[in-house]
C-alpha cells in the first residue's frame, strides 16, 4: 500500500500542480510509493489524520500539536525564509486607523485557515474584540474576503499576509492594512507519520539537498519555495508551545 501524502488545504491555488510535481520527484528520489491526496477543507483532512490514513503531510502549524502529540508525527523540513503572518485589513474608505477603534458587532471575514484566523483574532483582541462580540463570515478564499470588504458586506478581513500581498494592485488600493503580524516563528512544515519514521534522516537529507541540482530547484520553484530547511524536534516543540500559548 502506498504512503499517503496530503497538503494543508490553505496552499495557494497556483501551486496545486507544483505539489503533484513534487510528489513525483519525491517518489523517484526516495524509492517510496507515495499517493498525493488533496482535501478541499481542514475538517476532511483532519478526519483522514484521525483515521491514521496519512503518512506524510505539509501541515498547518495549528495542526502540528495534534500530529506530534497524538499521532506520533515527526518534523522533516520547512520552506526557507517563509513564515505564516496575518494581516487585519479594512475598506480604504473606512475612517478607522487603529484596531483599538473598531467596535463590537463588526463583521469579520475569515477563511478556514486556522493559524491565520488565530493570529488575526489575537490582533483584534487589542481592540477588546473576540469571538463573542464579532460576527464571523467564513469565505472560501482570501480573494473573496477582499471582495466582501470592497462590497461593504464585511467590516474587517483577516488575511494570510502572503495572500494579501499577492492581491492585485487595484484591489489593494481600495483596502487599508491596520496591522501586520511580525511573529516570524510560525510556519508550515513537512512532517512524516510513524510508518515513515525510519526513513526520516534519508528523506530530510534528500529534501535539504533539493536546491543543489537544477531539477530539484525547478520543482521547488513550482511550489513557490527557494529551499527546504531542516526542522528538529525541539524547534517543532517550541512552535507547538507557542501556538498553545496563543490558542487561549
Amino acid at each position: 500500500m502506498p504512503n499517503m501524502f496530503t497538503v494543508s488545504p490553505d496552499f495557494p491555488p497556483d501551486h496545486i500542480s507544483g505539489w503533484y510535481i513534487f510528489n513525483t520527484w519525491l517518489q523517484k528520489q526516495s524509492g517510496e510509493a507515495i499517493h498525493l491526496e488533496m482535501y478541499d477543507n481542514f475538517p476532511k483532512q483532519r478526519e483522514a489524520i484521525t483515521q491514521d490514513k496519512i503518512d506524510l503531510i505539509y501541515a498547518n502549524p495549528f495542526d502540528a500539536a495534534m500530529l506530534v502529540r497524538e499521532k506520533g508525527f515527526l518534523p522533516l523540513v520547512r520552506p526557507a525564509g517563509k513564515s505564516d503572518e496575518a494581516i487585519i485589513a479594512i475598506n480604504a474608505q473606512n475612517t478607522v486607523d487603529d484596531v483599538a477603534h473598531l467596535s463590537p458587532g463588526i463583521r469579520v471575514a475569515v477563511t478556514e485557515d486556522p493559524d491565520v484566523h488565530l493570529m488575526g483574532m489575537i490582533m483584534l483582541e487589542a481592540g477588546d474584540l473576540d469571538e463573542s462580540n464579532i460576527e464571523t463570515m467564513v469565505c472560501d478564499s482570501y480573494v473573496l474576503i477582499a471582495k466582501q470588504l470592497l462590497r461593504g458586506n464585511a467590516d474587517v478581513g483577516i488575511f494570510l499576509a502572503e495572500a494579501y500581498d499577492n492581491l492585485s494592485n487595484i484591489i489593494k488600493s481600495q483596502l487599508k492594512v491596520l496591522v501586520r503580524s511580525q511573529i516570524s516563528v510560525v510556519h508550515h512544515s513537512l512532517m512524516i507519520g510513524p510508518k515513515l519514521a525510519e526513513k526520516r534522516a534519508v528523506l530530510q537529507k534528500l529534501l535539504v539537498d533539493m536546491n543543489n541540482d537544477e531539477k530539484g530547484r525547478g520543482v521547488l520553484e513550482s511550489l513557490g519555495f527557494d529551499a527546504w530547511m531542516p526542522v528538529d524536534d525541539e524547534e517543532m516543540e517550541f512552535m507547538i508551545d507557542l501556538m498553545d500559548t496563543l490558542n487561549t
Binding site: E125, A126, Q182, L242, T248
Partner: protein, 158 residues
C-alpha cells in the same frame, strides 16, 4: 546575575525602591512614569529554565526591555519586575505553571531605562518526555480597557 539598576541608564525623573524577588534576591530598581506602547502585530517571546532563568529571548523582547541579549540570557526573568506589580500575581503564576497548567494575566513590565510597558502574558510549562524542562512566555498587545482595569486593581493587592 541580577544587578541593581543604575541612574545613568534611566531616562527621565525616577523613583527608587528595593524589591524582594523570588529566590531571596534583593534588587534596587529605578522607575519612571514613561510608558512605551506595545508594538502592533508583535509577540514578545522568552524561554526560561525551571528556575526562571532566561535561556532564550526574541528580538521583540530585546527591543521592548531595553536590555541586550547578553544581559538577558542567564538573568532571572524577574529582571522585568515592576514595583507596581503585586507579588501575589507572580505567586499565582508560579503555582499555576508548576502544576503543569497554563497561566495568563496582564503584567506591567519594567524596562532598563526605568520606563514600563503593559503586556498580556501567557506562560506554559515546556514538557519534554513527560518532564518540565522550562517555561515559555508569550506576550501580546493588551487592550487599553484591560490595562486600565489592572492599573486600578493591582494597587489594592499589596
Amino acid at each position: 546575575m541580577l544587578y541593581d539598576m543604575k541612574p545613568e541608564d534611566i531616562i527621565g525623573d525616577y523613583q527608587e525602591v528595593t524589591l524582594n524577588l523570588y529566590g531571596g534576591i534583593k534588587r534596587k530598581v529605578l522607575y519612571t512614569q514613561i510608558e512605551t506602547p506595545y508594538p502592533d502585530g508583535k509577540l514578545i517571546v522568552s524561554t526560561t529554565d525551571p528556575d526562571g532563568i532566561i535561556t532564550h529571548v526574541n528580538q521583540a523582547f530585546i527591543e521592548m526591555s531595553g536590555y541586550t541579549e547578553d544581559e538577558l540570557i542567564g538573568a532571572p526573568h524577574s529582571i522585568l519586575r515592576h514595583p507596581d506589580m503585586p507579588s501575589v500575581a507572580f505567586k499565582d503564576l508560579w503555582d499555576t505553571v508548576q502544576q503543569g497548567n497554563k497561566w495568563q494575566g496582564f503584567v506591567k513590565n519594567l524596562r532598563k531605562d526605568g520606563g514600563y510597558y503593559w503586556v498580556k502574558a501567557t506562560v506554559i510549562p515546556n514538557v519534554r518526555k513527560g518532564k518540565v524542562v522550562g517555561y515559555t512566555s508569550v506576550r501580546r498587545k493588551p487592550s487599553r480597557t484591560k490595562v486600565e482595569e489592572c492599573a486600578k486593581l493591582y494597587p489594592t493587592l499589596f
